[in-house]
Symmetry: C2
Subunit: 210 residues, 2 copies
Amino acid sequence: MTKTQEPVITSVADLPTSEAKWVTLQKISYIDQTGTPRTWEVASRKTRAASAGVDAVAMGNVLLHPARPPATLLVIQYRPPLDAYTVEWPAGLVDEGETAEQAAVREFREETGYACEVVGVSPVQAADPGLSSANMQLVMVEVRLGEEEALPEQRLEDGEHIQRVVVPLAELYDRLMEYSRRERTVVSAKLFHFAAGMHFAKTQAEKYGI
Amino acid sequence: MTKTQEPVITSVADLPTSEAKWVTLQKISYIDQTGTPRTWEVASRKTRAASAGVDAVAMGNVLLHPARPPATLLVIQYRPPLDAYTVEWPAGLVDEGETAEQAAVREFREETGYACEVVGVSPVQAADPGLSSANMQLVMVEVRLGEEEALPEQRLEDGEHIQRVVVPLAELYDRLMEYSRRERTVVSAKLFHFAAGMHFAKTQAEKYGI
């Protein structure tokens, strides 16, 4: 990433729903379980491809190197909605005509430079169900590395500035805690929850007999 | 939950930003790392309490019963944004003047009927960083149960219809996979990722040496 300056927000303005390209705001009227009419405000993506029926994929990934412990690649990028750098697994929107697996391989290649093998695809999950209709699938992928050191070249779209960080799997939770203490840095909830689940299983197994 | 009928959406209408009470749509103008001016569309909650600086809490919870394996309580509720029942950990918005811990204890009591003890509070996490400014903290809580069987009474707000399900921790991942196969049912990404992390740590420990 060529980082020449810290990103800065110059203005935040109400966006009329009619002018929004990517996101829309809708009022849902519905009849609840008791027969009572109610309403709910929802933010939706306008870009969901009909083919996959899912907005996005995130790639839980394991890098396997002949001489190093299994690791995972995280991406750090400036996210205007939070005015902060977020720490996430590589992720992206599913394009029209793609399956979740295809989107995962393509986006992983673009953001990380690596070719990957899909080893698992989760069911569709609700990204933030009280607020939005956005949904996603977690695609687990593996990358088999050679001995070479250097990270491959990314194929980023115009405007994408994505820093890659490789973290040993065994240190993932501690590293996310560390990132969370950094100024202007926030870990994404999905990645944090995965790491917290790993940490929970490892540290609480005896206490809870799991 | 008194469930007399399946919820049904009667209309979905564009919501002018000026009329929205809970959510707003904004256009952020910013200067990126290379000095290039760019814009981003963002959905934000209008309700963030200044005191905590965080929108919401979710309660990762462990129920400890004298005679049963450690379990966790999930809530299933109709979520209009997805027109589906979601499976989640209890969660709620942080009120003005509350800390995340206080909100967790209050919301857990309201949604589940149980008094709980907070055993851990996560850093602030970004709920869906490409789409919204929404953020949250994961608060881990424990509930010590007596021998009695019955679930305590909920204290739900008007319009809340929340079904509680108790799942042994060791079965969490499999149960979420099962729920994901049910019609009109979606698991929340945060809960699914936590369970997937637990499952990963348990099943891949040998393969990846973690």
